[in-house]
Amino acid sequence: MNNKPQSINQEAVMIRHQEVIQIFQHKSDAEVWAAFNLGDERAFNYLYRLYTPILYRYGLGFCGDDNLVKDGIQNLFIYLRAKRGNLSEIRSIKAYLFRSLQNEIFRGLKGQNSSVHFDSLEHCFQIEYSPETRYIAREDEEIEQSKFNQLLSNLTRRQRQAILLLYEENLTYKEIAEVLELNDTKSARKLVYRALAALKDILIFRIKK
């Protein structure tokens, strides 16, 4: 799946960053990463411009503390730049950065409070169902929407996370498995299918109308 962020964000201030988009936008992840590893500053600018806004969003999904997320992004890039020349090859930049940022955030959370557990993050990655094409605000549609949102919030954090990675971040099951540190693609698929099964009733209701 094409999961390159479509960056048209922000403006004049990113003058320098705008040019690098031209150079790298048609290159594969592996090529961009190789250029970055060789010390090409334009490749770094490109990565920063494309991935910072979505890393920020993803990080905030994880924990509400935006300072922690910003520090995490900063430390991640500092680390990657310091390791240039010795970086290993990667297939998906997005999946790699997501996983790395996750680790940075965990490290930050642990720094604040040593008893942080994965369990305490259960409320993270809130999902919202907000249909874009609502031409008329019909009452039953609103009721249905709130029901659907209720069901979504009943999913486990990892189910919600997997769905967001699939729909919003356009990652493949393989990449989702990488981000969620699952053993294989099959487990990622299962995670998503279980979540969809939980939503099934209300989905069927939608179709019948």
Binding site: Q10, L60, K70, Q74, E132, T133, Y135, R189, L196, L203
Partner: protein
């Protein structure tokens, strides 16, 4: 649901199978030549699946992160600066060459003073010896072009980047003769239809305090005094940044209605109604008399006078393509029982019926 069985055909797919299918999701989220080709043909072959497909696509598009704040420009730059300055700090210590050691022996203030003296000396030489160069960088003196249309006239303009702007009557645009290297900016008052040539520089339409940003698409912008801003997207993708910091993105066939107060909503739109004007379609859709009067005055550059009493609940619908005013008036009057009189640029509409609540 059997996720493991690879052999299920798309024709046997249930809703949840589509919802979990990578190839399908990719088409919904990033339609391109390759995946559209497959799904377009598949839909033609399986028309009975259309509702199912559309529902699945709608669900996929509707599930998003719960609202989160966006990274501000300031924070974006701040993090970037901290990142690029970091290696300079750490590598200095690591290198430990004679060069750095030499500088470490001298207090920083002295180094700064040294630089200052050098700078002042350079400026002095530059100004008094060589003299100030007469013409500074011409890049700053950007030449802007302003175009406006009087009442009753529409015009099309071609920009230096290959984009075209069709300007409705009583509207105004401003744009630089040559766009700069990073962005293409156009300012607008009134209504215009944009067909933006796709390239890497973002195309920014500024309407009041609102910025509409695109890469390559076609869309309509309409902002009249005391009325909301309407942005209707035909193809591509646009994002709209309001003065109070919210950002909305539009998909094709969506229209954003942004009130001056800052509140907004998205709706669908009838393309003939909203953008028909650029193809010379004059469209009335359950229009009331004051609206019809205003449209005709703007369209033909005439003045219309209403004489007599008119039913407030009366509405008129009709479509005219590139039609002369007299034919339009004839059409309207035929269904309403009104009479019209044309006297050069002055039109008089009269209602002979006495009973106003018919």
């Amino acid at each position: 649901m059997k996720p493991e069985k690879k052999l299920i055909r798309y024709t046997d797919y249930e809703l949840e199978d589509f919802l979990g299918d990578e190839f399908f999701i990719d088409w919904v989220k990033n339609p391109n030549v390759d995946n559209s080709h497959f799904w377009d043909i598949w839909l033609q072959k399986n028309p009975e699946k259309r509702t199912l497909i559309l529902s699945a696509a709608n669900i996929i598009r509707s599930i998003t992160y719960a609202p989160l704040p966006q990274l501000s420009e300031h924070e974006y730059l701040d993090i970037f600066e901290k990142i690029i300055k970091e290696p300079a700090r750490s590598s200095k210590a690591k290198m430990g060459s004679w060069f750095y050691k030499f500088f470490e022996l001298i207090p920083p203030t002295k180094i700064a003073a040294c630089f200052l003296i050098c700078f002042v000396a350079w400026v002095t030489i530059e100004v008094y010896w060589i003299g100030v160069p007469e013409e500074e960088t011409p890049v700053l003196a950007e030449e802007w072009i302003e175009k406006s249309t009087p009442i009753g006239v529409k015009s099309t303009f071609f920009l230096s980047d290959g984009s075209t702007i069709t300007l409705n009557s009583e509207s105004k645009i401003r744009f630089p003769k040559n766009f700069d290297q990073v962005k293409r900016t156009v300012e607008i008052e009134g209504e215009a239809f944009f067909e933006v040539k796709k390239e890497n520089r973002p195309f920014i339409v500024q309407s009041g305090n609102t910025k509409i940003q695109v890469l390559g698409t076609s869309f309509n912008v309409n902002k009249k005094t005391n009325e909301p801003l309407y942005v209707a997207l035909v193809t591509g993708k646009v994002s709209v940044d309001t003065h109070n910091g919210s950002r909305m993105t539009l998909e094709p066939n969506e229209m954003l209605v942004l009130e001056d107060s800052g509140s907004f909503r998205k709706t669908g739109f009838d393309s003939k109604d909203v953008i028909g004007w650029k193809d010379k379609f004059l469209v009335f859709k359950s229009s009331k008399l004051p609206e019809i009067k205003e449209r005709l005055e703007q369209w033909y550059g005439v003045q219309i006078e209403l004489k007599g009493k008119f039913d407030e609940n009366w509405t008129y619908s009709g479509v005219y393509k590139d039609e002369i005013l007299e034919n339009v008036l004839r059409g309207i009057c035929m269904t309403s029982g009104m009479n019209y009189k044309i006297n050069d640029k002055k039109i008089t509409l009269t209602n002979p019926k006495k009973h106003e609540n018919s």
